[in-house]
Symmetry: D3
Subunit: 250 residues, 6 copies
Amino acid sequence: MTQTARFDGRTPDQLREVRITRDWLDHAEGSVLVEFGRTRVLCAASLSEGVPRWMKGQGRGWVTGEYAMLPRATHTRSSRESVKGRVGGRTHEISRLIGRSLRAAVDMDKLGENTLQIDCDVLQADGGTRTAAITGAYVALADAIDTGRRRGWIPAAVDPIVDSIAAVSVGIVNGAPVLDLPYEEDVEADTDMNVVMTGSGAFVEVQGTAEATPFDRSELGRLLDLAQVGCASLTELQRAALAEPRRSGS
Amino acid sequence: MTQTARFDGRTPDQLREVRITRDWLDHAEGSVLVEFGRTRVLCAASLSEGVPRWMKGQGRGWVTGEYAMLPRATHTRSSRESVKGRVGGRTHEISRLIGRSLRAAVDMDKLGENTLQIDCDVLQADGGTRTAAITGAYVALADAIDTGRRRGWIPAAVDPIVDSIAAVSVGIVNGAPVLDLPYEEDVEADTDMNVVMTGSGAFVEVQGTAEATPFDRSELGRLLDLAQVGCASLTELQRAALAEPRRSGS
Amino acid sequence: MTQTARFDGRTPDQLREVRITRDWLDHAEGSVLVEFGRTRVLCAASLSEGVPRWMKGQGRGWVTGEYAMLPRATHTRSSRESVKGRVGGRTHEISRLIGRSLRAAVDMDKLGENTLQIDCDVLQADGGTRTAAITGAYVALADAIDTGRRRGWIPAAVDPIVDSIAAVSVGIVNGAPVLDLPYEEDVEADTDMNVVMTGSGAFVEVQGTAEATPFDRSELGRLLDLAQVGCASLTELQRAALAEPRRSGS
Amino acid sequence: MTQTARFDGRTPDQLREVRITRDWLDHAEGSVLVEFGRTRVLCAASLSEGVPRWMKGQGRGWVTGEYAMLPRATHTRSSRESVKGRVGGRTHEISRLIGRSLRAAVDMDKLGENTLQIDCDVLQADGGTRTAAITGAYVALADAIDTGRRRGWIPAAVDPIVDSIAAVSVGIVNGAPVLDLPYEEDVEADTDMNVVMTGSGAFVEVQGTAEATPFDRSELGRLLDLAQVGCASLTELQRAALAEPRRSGS
Amino acid sequence: MTQTARFDGRTPDQLREVRITRDWLDHAEGSVLVEFGRTRVLCAASLSEGVPRWMKGQGRGWVTGEYAMLPRATHTRSSRESVKGRVGGRTHEISRLIGRSLRAAVDMDKLGENTLQIDCDVLQADGGTRTAAITGAYVALADAIDTGRRRGWIPAAVDPIVDSIAAVSVGIVNGAPVLDLPYEEDVEADTDMNVVMTGSGAFVEVQGTAEATPFDRSELGRLLDLAQVGCASLTELQRAALAEPRRSGS
Amino acid sequence: MTQTARFDGRTPDQLREVRITRDWLDHAEGSVLVEFGRTRVLCAASLSEGVPRWMKGQGRGWVTGEYAMLPRATHTRSSRESVKGRVGGRTHEISRLIGRSLRAAVDMDKLGENTLQIDCDVLQADGGTRTAAITGAYVALADAIDTGRRRGWIPAAVDPIVDSIAAVSVGIVNGAPVLDLPYEEDVEADTDMNVVMTGSGAFVEVQGTAEATPFDRSELGRLLDLAQVGCASLTELQRAALAEPRRSGS
């Protein structure tokens, strides 16, 4: 791997500037505006009593996710899925990924019969929206659980969180593995991988796709190395953000 | 009308704090984050070549609007219209109002065969979302036209804007007419009216609804008085915002 | 305002010929075929036990409306919304207006946990379909309540009707305010206003739209004057129609 | 077959009172309000230039049908298919039957590249709505073709009609074959058959369904006998209606 | 009727080769792969406890059907109805026919509050898919009831089957009535008829359609003669198939 | 890893019995019935002229996939997506995976402006349906291209296939990595991974999901080892199948 400069001057294993703004909304139990460079995702975690019908009476909770993009999040406007009357395949796929990933953060027995609904709405897209969404959503989820414990919806003595969750994209661009791809690199990538990890360093989801050229085992290894570095940094940023006191009134 | 204090301390003819942040998005030709107190709407104006099929070949442009609310804009989460597979009546109605209102700002012949698509997405709702959306959307539209003229999509010598557009809600709460109702007043209102006006003080749209008690001609007059005061102030705020230089890079 | 003749010979403040045929249907609790000139709307009021889920147990009733147009009501055939699989924005908007307007006629506590469903189907359209629909629907609603009281669904001693409701369109055509616009005038109008009033002369809904040129306060005043004249006449016609005995068998 | 009296006093082979009102609509090229007793169907025939894409360039025309029922056509209100967002199976089935049946009336080569769209909207239902619709639609279609020839859309010298079309329902009720079943008999029928015939006495469509008990060849024969009698009478009524001059202005 | 040879060498009253493979699926209570020549339909009968809401508490069962075609069952691929988001009219019509036909096989009181859901999926289409579906579905249904009785869902002493059901298509091709039309004959047919009969020789459904030329009573008679011959043969094949022991494990 | 026996007696790295039946359909350009144990998927490859609109004029081809499951493929019946009116998230996700995977097999420039539509319909599901679908679809695709070259749609001298594609599922069940999981193992798996590889041994897609417990790098490695073994065997089976002459008539 030659250390060729990236178009935005970052080193291959460097994240974009990541910002996590907690309690960006007034009504949600937890909410985060997360930014990875110009990618900007509003994550709202809604905690409500009850679970879907098929889960009732088991004493266990549920975590589910929905992802969407505002029409002008992208360079050219795309039409609204509500107006088209159907959710597209990409939206479906990412919503499912967000739900699965965040479920790994929570002990459903400790959550009790409550539902955490995670809404990730992309306000501006510049690559890596799904991994930014997961990373921000974890912080919103942690705050929503905090709200629930303070309000007595979840016993204050019980902490349903088992681990933190962060996610990052990695890819092979011009033959070189790089971390956290913005749009310009994303369209050039030979291989694109999204990795979701726990704060303690285990994998929750690994999704690698050969966009142009199939990849081999050693390339896969180098991409996982990068992802581990990136997720560790994001975990640190999440911890720092959550160490701050919440906005008064939350 | 007794001059009873409003729950947030405002006088009857006082607007909430209004903030207009231009170029909140990097890709849109024009964009504004508009805030009326806790109501927060992201307005994106997309300028693109061409017009809908039924308008082709007439040399005239088109302005259209879409309104939507994020699921957790409200106190309790509401479900996504994309997931339900249909746009609700309220959404439809407000989208049509936004389109009609903004069309009054533009000379379609001067716009040429270009389309201005206005997207108003409510990030947080606290009453008056449709009027905040229109007020913000005008500024986004003005910036999008500015972008179009600077890029040569519209001849620089031609200014398609005929007037500015602002909108405000008024209503009768506990028997007294008040300006710019937040959610708490909105649910209490006997009569609710949304008024859209031009910068030069003419009416574009007047929509008054008796929520509880039918209203008489004199009440209608007092509501229109208030709306005229409110729209005049909003027009000033729009002018001040547009007098600032645009963010570099826009 | 010069008193220019209208293309159909009416004076500016003259209604078209209005006909109200009660009990046009055999099954509905109340039904009216209402005609404003060539505009022809079939209004059916269905009274049924129970209310929507979100209203249960409050002892109050509900009134709701749906509006639709037959495909060949218009000069050229339009496609069916059932076949398109979605209700259009205009349909949604008018359905909501009909529901809101008719709710002003009824004391929901006195109605008890019953629902009045108002269906307004435009058989032929020649301008003013929504206001004709509301005017006819009130008579159908009154008959449905009469049926309900005669059948004992509502106690005979209780009259849930608080006032009658009529509606009319007004507009500025060629600079002059006119009452009750047919299609030919509607497409020419600078300003178009729909006004819904109670029988006792208060406003329930005022919806004014500048189609071409924004309007000022004095034009608004003259339009409201005309609308008050028109609604008063329609109220008389409703009273006269309801004073007739019902068709035997109803 | 015992000649048991029918509940409405008709003999087994007697039609209900049939009324055919031509040009019930002002805009449609042909329109008929057809009544079979209390069953009331508005049939509009729209003639327009052009054919569906898959037929273009063959010099042939097309005839298609759509059937729908107003929500309060029936004893209890049914919900709108436009609001449900999908057309039900029964509606689909009858729409297809109407299209097929009417196509048998027309020489597509002589029609030229024009489309006849037949809309049959049931205003009130009391059994036999599909057969009443077909019977009325033929008259509307004949008038629409007359309009087309008078307006020069179809050469006046060319008559695309090859035969008339009428339809009637027959069934076995309490063991006895009867003609033209109203709702009360329809729900009691063991076998239900809809028969579409040409004016010259040939079959276009025969649809027999054993609702309760399978039927044998001789019962089938007696039902066809009755249907032939009924269709012959309806053909006479159609001829008489079409022999009248059209309403002035059509 | 001249005994002209058919393109595949069959006599006019000869079926294609019919094959009935029972228990083609491992999970379904009853399943059949039925082949009429190259037409190949997979019929699954699912027996489950409970009935639709509108039937609850009556102690009676329900039989319902759904028909669909795989996209590449036909010569050229057709698009999926799931992707289009709506079921087409033809699909609706045939699903309803299958349900009605199979209900004639079952005594609903003896079935108890159980539902038999019949799924007929056309894997390959070569004419006569709906009649093949019904013929195969009866065998699947019989096996599903057998499963239910062996598992105790239906008392072993009770046999809800009242008769067998078979179906076949007949038509007039080049002026001659023929039995069991493959695609090549189907597109050429002047008249097309689908006939559903009980094993004891009564009619359940007769659907005849004049595709090109209306037909007369004597042609109808000859088509019914052929259909009776065909259904009798199919009834024999069903009996023979059901006389075999079921696949072990079913 | 203790070499505990699997419930069906296989060793951890042993595939189920795999059967590939080519030309199972008569009309499709290529078709395969693929079986992995009781999982049975019908793969049809349709080759047609032309490409989607957004690709026109580039001289390149397109490969796309759709996946669906028959309602009774599973232990209990699931409802049809066509009837529900929307495609579910899982279906969307797998359809996209199939399309992406098969595109890796084809040189789009050599394919020319032709489209290969891959339909994978699960007739019976017993785990691993998506990987069985991809494995079978490759063989169908190869046959469709063969058909295209024999018919001259693609120049006979040009072979658009760049490599073969096979896919398999692997997972950690009771702590031990195993290959090719049937339903019983799938529901027990801690980690579930689907791997798509080229015949020459490179990765096209790696999708690993921690169902219960997050996994570490070494577990990931052992799963990839197993997947490489499985895909190599499947590649052999594909080669052997394609080495047979095609069914006459194809």
